[in-house]
């Protein structure tokens, strides 16, 4: 299988879906002429033209809302947020309009929109640009939330997201855009809501997603080599719908759980997971559920300290040792 970057995988998914369905349009700040702020959409304007690849002004509430309105008429907009952090200025459009319109209309109206872009810390851009809002988004019934960790997953999940009839929020990661992974040349899709066991093991289950999958894999290698601890890593891939069954099956195997997430701890995705695991697999647990999250403060700028604020392989290692201890 060819090795391509996460960035290219997202781009290929966009190109294939643009090719497949004339209703798909890509919109966002700098997506066309500039070739994408992170070069995700590079070359799409040349291939699909300005009616399908549309540069928007810096006007998130306006253009996201406009995309939602167009989706009600059957257009399938894939809207790029340069950073998911900018969702806050379009919050009413995203979480009042897109999330609620089907319900408030008694099921008469669909909103087949995808909003995608990076949501991560670690790039020394400070608190305003480092939000990871998957928990906030997933708190709203009516929406779907996807956080892919690898090139393969990003492509297959984005294709499913674009074909989905419900609003899907797709959270990428600037730190992963350059990471390469094996991606088949033939077409494939990955269903939303299907977790993936990224590593099999028997002593500890790490439940995680996004970039923390990679931190967890790095820590797991050290744990095996230096501590003889066998770690299973469950990558959720999708936050809502949630594949809790794969998580529970792993817990039944290892009996110990560490949740690793790039989230502020209060009411995070991990909080929900911990509730569900204790509720549905209480008898399987040999100890309390542990969690490693972002250190609870706005994102610090200072580059070396930001690494310590976020989950990283060393922090995962320490938390894993505590969890099995």
């Amino acid at each position: 299988m060819p090795l391509i970057t996460y960035r290219e995988a997202v781009r290929h998914a966009l190109a294939e879906e643009l090719e497949r369905d004339k209703n798909v349009v890509v919109m966002g700040e700098e997506v066309a002429q500039f070739n994408g702020a992170y070069k995700v959409t590079e070359g799409l304007l040349a291939k699909f033209g300005p009616d399908r690849i549309v540069d928007t002004p810096i006007s998130e509430a306006g253009f996201i809302g406009m995309g939602i309105g167009a989706s009600m008429l059957g257009v399938r907009p894939v809207m790029e947020l340069m950073f998911w952090s900018f969702y806050s200025v379009a919050f009413d459009q995203i979480l009042n309009n897109a999330a609620n319109v089907r319900y408030m209309s008694g099921g008469q109206i669909n909103c087949p929109i995808v909003i995608r872009g990076p949501a991560n810390g670690g790039t020394n851009v400070g608190a305003t640009h480092s939000h990871t809002p998957e928990n906030v988004l997933a708190n709203h019934p009516g929406v779907k939330v996807v956080v892919p960790a690898t090139a393969y997953d990003a492509k297959g999940l984005l294709k499913s997201a674009i074909r989905d009839n419900d609003p899907v929020f797709f959270l990428e990661n600037t730190m992963l855009y350059g990471e390469k992974g094996e991606v088949p040349t033939e077409e494939y899709v990955i269903p939303l809501g299907k977790a993936d066991v990224k590593r099999e093991g028997s002593d500890l289950t790490i439940v995680t997603y996004g970039r923390c999958v990679h931190h967890s894999l790095a820590a797991a290698a050290i744990l095996e080599k230096e501590h003889d601890i066998s770690v299973e890593i469950v990558d959720l891939r999708t936050i809502r719908p949630l594949d809790i069954d794969t998580v529970l099956a792993s817990v039944a195997k290892t009996h110990r759980v560490l949740i690793v997430e790039e989230q502020k701890p209060f009411a995070s995705v991990g909080s929900q997971l911990a509730y569900m695991i204790q509720r549905e697999a209480f008898d399987e647990l040999d100890g309390p559920i542990h969690r490693l999250a972002t250190v609870d403060a706005p994102a610090i700028y200072s580059p070396p300290v930001e690494i310590e604020q976020l989950p990283n392989p060393q922090r995962v290692l320490k938390a894993a040792l505590e969890a099995v201890g």
């Binding site: 349009v25 009616d51 928007t56 002004p57 006007s59 509430a61 306006g62 253009f63 996201i64 809302g65 406009m66 995309g67 939602i68 309105g69 167009a70 989706s71 009600m72 008429l73 059957g74 257009v75 009413d92 459009q93 009042n96 309009n97 319109v101 089907r102 319900y103 408030m104 209309s105 008694g106 099921g107 008469q108 109206i109 669909n110 019934p141 009516g142 779907k144 499913s160 074909r163 989905d164 009839n165 419900d166 269903p191 939303l192 809501g193 299907k194 977790a195 999708t238 809502r240 719908p241 949630l242 594949d243 809790i244 069954d245 929900q272 569900m276």
Partner: protein, 365 residues
Amino acid sequence: MSKKTTATADKKAAPAPSVSDFAQAPINAGLSREAKIELHRKMVRIRRFEERSLRSYQAKKIGGFLHLYIGQEAVAVGCCSLMGPNDHVITAYRDHGHAIAVGMDTKPLMAELYGKATGCSKGKGGSMHYFDPTRNFWGGHGIVGGQIPLGTGLAYGIKYKGLKGAAMAFMGDGAVNQGAVHEAYNLASLWNLPVVFVIENNGYSMGTSQARSSAGELAQRAAGYDMEWGQCNGHDVYEVRATMDKFLTLAREKNRPSTVEIDTYRYRGHSVADPDNTYRSKQEIEEYRKTKDPIQVFQQKLLTEGVLTEALIEQIDAEARAEADNTADFAEASPFPTPDDIQKDVYWESDNPAERKSQGRLFFD
């Protein structure tokens, strides 16, 4: 229009044509007798429906808010009477008039207010959230100004699909200061989208007069976005139609957006929970009722034209009252949704399980 502090303080930038001119405008001169009667009938039906809903509200049959349109009927009826097959409408929470104007059946509208399963949104939306996509009516939206980007998106959809049509995005005068409205103005003009932004200026954003909430003039703000704009008297359905026809044609034919400010007035409070005695006088309301009531104004014109007779007026009114009473009976007799219905209509996929592609849990407890 200049800021209004009293009923008689209206001033126009340009002298208004005389009333008869609007009756002679081509869009009105071509109306059949039946079509004119239908305009009148729709306004009467809206008013009787809303008066009936107010009684039901006072009888505690209806929860939440009830934002009545009484006094503004000529705006929705005039605008929506111009709709062609590819024209679309979206509005804010004062949406009963628009729903009836686009042709929705009033029984499910009343049932929705009662929170019944037979409501137009199955009792899930309430007064502020009426929808009927089969009639190109996209709500009914609760957040001031939040529907305006959506309306711009409807225009985008019309254009993207290569259709000749226009979106009408209605808002109140209180919405003009919301950022989302200005972002939508910019996008619509920048991208040549076929949308008419309709400001229904009833003089008050809730209890705050235009003078106390908005700097400068309202419609003219469109000029800053290189957009056409216009103003008209919303008490005369002929004038509403003549004005809107011009801007709808601009949208449909040239893909150019515009903003039209329509001067109107609501007799009731912002919602029925509004004490309505802190920010305007009873005398002001009475003045409008006596001199500018849109139903009375149009009725008088049609009497003069020989289209309506006193007997026909009485008949239409009696029918509208009976219809309104029937809606209340229908709503009363209808069942409430059940707790099992709470989690229906959330996801397309959960409502269409045979076609579901995703896996995993969609709902949590």
